[in-house]
């Protein structure tokens, strides 16, 4: 069920402002791809353009091609809602729906799309998703309680459970651990390792150790100068990236001699 993504010469705009320029890469299916780079270089913007979340912001648009299994995402006939059902997303800050219980939060993707299902089937999805997100043991006795009552790390895992409950092909994660403590981070990294067998995962992170730990391939984004658009400097296997990068700027950034 997992799919690969091919990006070809993608330019991303906010109104007239070119935020990211000329990105080309191939994200392999059933692997973890990490994006690293300084703040404001367009990693998150690029990530959001992979499931058409970018255009939610007024005036935002892209030029270029994003192909998922041979289908162009930005074709005029493509429904962004259908795209987002296939390509799920986890955000930087945990954002469970405040009006819903833990149970309803997990089912939100199905329920909000008014999918009819039996109680047993719904229970099954909830249990499977929460187990998938390593949260089941902590919440199985209080599924009816509000999702907002969980701790930050638990909320983020609830959001992951919510994202995998709709069984997407690809999971995009925008700095999923930046608001979490080391223990929750480790839980989520373990989870990413497990999810890799079924999903294509793309993760944006500021934590280079995390990129080295979880990803198979890494892309380094950078700005040429302040006010210039961000661009992809290097895209390589994580091992090569952290041991012997092709580009000097990548090495400088990874080893902390940035500039």
């Amino acid at each position: 069920m997992a799919k690969s993504i091919t990006v070809d010469d993608l330019d991303i705009y906010y109104g007239d402002f070119l935020a990211v320029q000329g990105v080309s890469m191939t994200v392999k299916a059933r692997s973890v791809t990490a994006f690293i780079g300084p703040s404001g270089c367009g990693k998150s913007t690029f990530l959001r353009s992979l499931n058409r979340m970018h255009e939610v912001i007024p005036g935002a648009r892209v030029e270029g091609k994003v192909m998922v299994d041979g289908q162009s995402l930005y074709d005029s006939a493509v429904d962004p809602v259908a795209v987002r059902r296939q390509i799920g997303m986890v955000f930087q800050r945990p954002n469970p729906f405040p009006t819903m219980s833990i149970y309803d939060n997990v089912l939100a993707g199905n329920r909000l799309n008014s999918k009819k299902m039996k109680k047993a089937e719904a229970d099954d999805i909830v249990e499977r998703s929460l187990k998938g997100a390593n949260l089941w043991n902590e919440v199985k006795d209080r599924l009816g309680k509000p999702g907002m009552g969980l701790s930050g790390g638990q909320q983020q895992r609830l959001c992951i459970a919510r994202a995998i409950a709709v069984e997407p092909q690809v999971l995009l994660m925008d700095e999923p651990c930046s608001a979490l403590d080391p223990i929750s981070t480790s839980a989520i990294e373990d989870l990413i390792h497990e999810l890799k067998s079924e999903y294509t995962i793309v993760i944006v992170t500021h934590n280079m150790q995390q990129a080295a730990r979880v990803s198979d391939e890494t892309g380094f984004f950078n700005l040429k100068a302040a006010g210039q658009p961000g661009h992809l400097v290097e895209f390589n296997s994580t091992q090569k990236m952290f041991a012997n990068p092709d580009n000097e700027a990548t090495e400088a950034y990874i080893s902390g001699r940035f500039g």
């Binding site: 809602v81 997303m89 729906f97 405040p98 009006t99 993707g109 509000p146 999702g147 969980l150």
Partner: protein, 365 residues
């Protein structure tokens, strides 16, 4: 030639830092208040001033004396603190006193009028000895306000959804916002004249119906509903919308299932406030809903009286007291009607708060 004396950098011996400071005793405000009331009583006793003068004088004495005392003991920051605290309390009292006085007067004068007959009989009578009540106006108020709410709540909420979710600062949305703001300032009589003209043009010159009153009231309600709903929708974080989009939920479903439920508590409060705002309107209803002494359940035909209109007309034509110098019957009915109206608004508020509390986002624990 000057010699440089070697100076060892000796820090001046630091004085013991003290975290304690002189402070007025805890009972100081109460003591000053008692003294101020006593001091202000002197002119009242000797010059025969009234209770209001007494209260104002006591307040001034308190606001002068306590900061002065604090200045002597605690310093200028303490004095400012005491002064501003006093002023804030005074402002609060000034705001509450008229309200309490008004409520007290209405309860005091209205309560004797209220009994089962008063609440279940209309003003219609065929004989002067028959009992009368405000049932017809009670029904009129409830029905006309209900229909006004039925018109304005959907329109108002949907307009606010357009402004926040779809318009997002485009030209049309800016114009709508501007016009809504202008509508908030429409005098109620103008709304009444509009409904009057509309229904007379549509149905002929002698048309009177409760629904016309509902239309007039909805003109006053819509801007309030739009404004309050807009504010509430603005408070819903964009992250929730994005979370929903990222699950592949279409925009309209996101609005219905995520945004509106999250904002529901505030929206309900806004709707209640708008109802409370129009339930006391008199002028527009006098024009189009007319006057009657009979109970009318049909808002689409015949005249209908509401409580404010009843209060107005009873007060204008109170009739003759049974005993010379006694309370004239219309006046008593007007006070009773006013009390019933206040109770209705209060009940509405309680209902709205309950609904708001039930639907408010839960924090767990």
């Amino acid at each position: 030639m000057s010699t440089v004396t070697p100076t060892t950098p000796v820090r001046p011996r630091s004085e013991a830092v003290s975290f304690t400071a002189a402070k007025l005793p805890r009972f100081a405000p109460a003591l000053v208040a008692v003294v101020a009331i006593a001091a202000a009583a002197l002119p009242v006793l000797f010059m025969g001033a009234g209770a209001i003068t007494w209260a104002v004088l006591a307040g001034i004495v308190y606001l002068v004396a306590l900061p002065l005392w604090a200045r002597a003991v605690e310093g200028s920051r303490g004095a400012t603190d005491r002064l501003v605290t006093g002023l804030v309390w005074a402002a609060c009292a000034v705001a509450i006193v008229p309200l309490v006085s008004l409520l007290w007067t209405v309860v005091d004068r209205g309560l004797p009028a209220i009994n089962t007959t008063f609440l279940t009989f209309s003003m219609y009578r065929t004989d002067l000895d028959q009992e009368v009540g405000i049932y017809h106006a009670l029904i009129g108020t409830l029905l006309i306000t209900l229909f006004a709410a039925l018109i304005s709540v959907p329109i108002g909420i949907m307009a606010a959804i357009y402004l926040i979710e779809y318009g997002k600062g485009n030209r049309l949305a800016r114009w709508i916002t501007f016009l809504v703001d202008v509508m908030t300032g429409i005098p109620s009589i103008v709304a009444g004249l509009f409904a009057f003209a509309l229904f007379i043009l549509l149905f002929g010159p002698s048309t009177r119906m409760g629904f016309g009153g509902s239309v007039a009231l909805s003109l006053l309600m819509i801007p309030i509903v739009v404004r309050s709903t807009e504010e509430m929708l603005r408070l819903v974080p964009d992250e929730l919308r994005e979370a929903s989009y990222a699950l592949g939920v279409p925009k309209w479903r996101t609005i219905v299932k995520v945004v509106l439920p999250t904002a529901l508590g505030g929206i309900v409060t806004g709707v209640t406030l708008s109802i409370a705002r129009v339930v006391g309107e008199t002028a527009p209803l006098l024009l189009i809903a007319g006057l009657t002494t009979r109970t009318n359940f049909n808002v689409f035909a015949e005249r209908m009286t509401t409580l404010p209109v009843l209060i107005f007309t009873q007060n204008a034509n109170p009739g003759i007291a049974e005993t010379p110098g006694g309370i004239r019957p219309g006046i008593e009915i007007a006070w009773g009607g006013a009390l019933v109206l206040i109770v209705i608004v209060m009940l509405l508020n309680i209902v709205a708060r309950t609904i708001g509390a039930i639907f408010a986002p839960k924090t767990g624990h």
